[in-house]
Amino acid sequence: MNIQTIPLLFLIVSSFILILFLGWRYALLGLALQYIGIFWLIAQTLPVGLAAVKLIVGWMAGAILASSQVSLGEELPVSDLSGRIFRGFVMIFGVIVAFSILPAAETWIPVERSLLTGGLILLISGLVQLGLTGNPFRLSLGLLTFLAGFEMIYAGLVSSVLVVGLLGLINLGIGLAGSYFILSATLEETG
């Protein structure tokens, strides 16, 4: 087994965790694993410092979202077994799609295979998450996952500090926007 398979496994497992389990604890775990995998793969292309920015920003965005959900004091909607089976199959199908479009994607985008594979898995995982929920917390996770997938691919193309910084800012912004979505109804108008 190639050493680069390990972070890819991290990404696949994290995608399944994010899709199968709807609680905020599992989401945080999934997001943490996801960004470790991203850091591992991106560190092969970008300087470790820049790769670490993505790891830290991703974790921070996840923490912001989870803490907002906890502050709200409402449990996220739970999923029954049939729902999990359905989502599991959708994600299995998504992973198959990611691997099957990989050769075509390689002719379009000249980046390292592991980055492209991981990026495609996360892009599809993000889209699946976005398509299966209307909950602000889950939606923000979907957007973060989608963007993380894009960032992985883009890191193989552009290694600008400003791009990394702005993408980090956008990730944090999505975390904050998601947090605002979750808590907006509880904010005081005059406070």
């Binding site: 791009v163 702005l166 999505i174 979505f181």
Partner: protein, 467 residues
């Protein structure tokens, strides 16, 4: 001092500062409106890159600001656009005071404008996508006031705008990665498709636009109007800038045909949906789509007159959306529902708002004497001369939209059985009357207003050479 500091950094810092003053809405809104008017005035009066003498004081406004090796450039070419954007902001912020907008409106509004101007100024242009996304994120607190739960329209707005960004960045990487002549010719059409997809997601192009009527229906019309006025206009200008900078895109007749057909589809579908619409706030969303359709149609003609019509169309677009959003806001602020089942007696309760609403919609439909008429007429004539077989479809869309507006008119003039009290206050009437006056002035004296606004095309200088 440099121009980007004046028109990008100062609004950003002011927005952040006003956030601290957000509980004093009048102060925050007044400062935002005053600052926007001041910046619009400076853009009109202050040449960039030249030495200005004020008494014994010499000022030179530099064009560039460098941040982390990238530059933000604002030149004299961008000044007309700055005048238009900051004037529009001054009007929106001023109106926001009268219409009692929530405490995040002015601070985040200024920050959104700053990010959008930054997107237009940044070089290399691929960074623009990141700044537009920042503008989208900053517009979330604008659209969702405190104490209100988030609705699906805003969520979808965020999703679609965020999905658009990676496409633009990828296309920007291809087109911005050096000499176009050295890029594999097979990649260029693919990159153009990616670029088109990105702009389609950003602009809410058919079929990615279903969030627009949802957004206008579920959020306060004034906030939605502000965002849907400034964001698509900035994105369209950014698109023109892309086309202007990339010679391969300018020479691609296929791309312009696709833009034209997309614009046509937007006009047709928005017009047809508008004809069957029973909720005025959703019709507002279709009006935005309809306007974007006409903008794309004019750009797709790819001639200088086409671009001039696009530029001239910005003023009636901004004015029409402002009057429409203001009228709907007056109704919303007085808890007046805007679906057809609850409109009886509305004209007695809100006469000026109803007249403003109908006139704004008529202006967008291209009814004579109103602001939209001259540009609609020119656009239709130009399109008919280029694609005579397709003009019927555009007219069908126009007719659909007009039917929608006439249905609104027929519902708002139903009088109540008992005499009703007028609920608008004099400030609301005043701002609506001024808006309506300009709707007529633009329609009656188009040359006076439109000849000045077409200078915004200097943002994309290569397009001025189009025949």
């Amino acid at each position: 001092m440099s121009a980007p500091i004046l028109w990008i950094v100062i609004p950003l810092v002011a927005g952040m500062t006003l956030w601290l003053l957000r509980r004093r809405r009048w102060l925050a809104g007044g400062i935002a409106a005053g600052l926007s008017a001041f910046l619009a005035g400076l853009a009109a009066a202050l040449p960039i890159g030249e030495v200005i003498r004020l008494g014994g004081l010499q000022i030179e406004l530099a064009e560039s600001l460098f941040i982390l090796g990238r530059s933000f450039n604002l030149t004299n070419n961008e000044r007309p656009l700055l005048v238009v954007i900051f004037t529009a902001c001054a009007v929106w912020f001023g109106g926001g005071l009268i219409l009692r907008q929530h405490r995040f409106f002015a601070p985040f509004g200024l920050m959104v404008v700053s990010a959008l101007i930054g997107a237009l100024a940044v070089q290399p242009f691929l960074y623009a996508a990141l700044l537009v996304e920042l503008a989208v994120l900053l517009s979330i607190p604008l659209l969702v006031p405190p104490r209100e739960p988030v609705q699906s329209g805003v969520q979808r707005f965020l999703i679609f705008q965020t999905l658009g960004m990676p496409f633009i960045l990828l296309a920007g990487w291809v087109f911005g990665s050096g000499d176009i002549a050295q890029i594999d010719p097979a990649i260029l059409p693919r990159a153009a498709v990616i670029l088109g997809l990105g702009f389609a997601l950003w602009l809410g192009v058919f079929p990615f636009y279903f969030w627009v009527p949802q957004l206008t229906n579920q959020t306060h019309p004034y906030s939605a109007g502000f965002v849907l006025s400034l964001l698509p206009v900035s994105i369209l200008m950014l698109g023109l800038d892309f086309i202007s900078q990339i010679g391969w895109l300018r020479a691609s007749s296929g791309m312009f045909l696709i833009i034209q057909l997309t614009g046509m589809l937007m006009i047709i579908t928005a017009g047809i949906w508008a004809a069957f619409q029973d909720e005025i706030s959703r019709l507002f969303g279709y009006a935005v789509i309809f306007e974007s359709g006409y903008a794309l149609l004019s750009i797709g003609v790819n001639t200088l007159p086409g671009y001039m019509i696009f530029a001239a169309g910005l003023l009636p677009r901004l004015l029409g959306l402002f009057v429409l959003a203001t009228a709907l806001s007056v109704l919303k602020n007085h808890d007046q529902p805007t679906d057809f089942d609850h409109l009886q007696g509305i004209f007695q309760r809100f006469p000026v708002a109803v007249i403003g609403l109908v006139l704004a919609l008529f202006s967008m439909s291209g009814i004579p004497l109103l602001a939209g008429f001259p540009v609609r007429l020119e656009a239709l004539e130009l399109f008919a001369s280029q694609r005579p077989l397709l003009i019927g479809w555009v007219l069908l869309g126009n007719l659909g939209f007009l039917i929608g507006v006439i249905r609104v008119l027929l519902h708002v003039v139903r009088l109540a059985d008992q005499p009703e009290q007028r609920l608008e206050n004099w400030k609301e009437r005043g701002i609506l009357l001024i808006g309506m006056l300009f709707l007529f002035l633009f329609g009656l004296m188009p040359g006076v207003f439109y000849q000045s606004v077409i200078f915004i095309l200097r943002v994309a200088p290569a397009l001025l050479a189009a025949r």
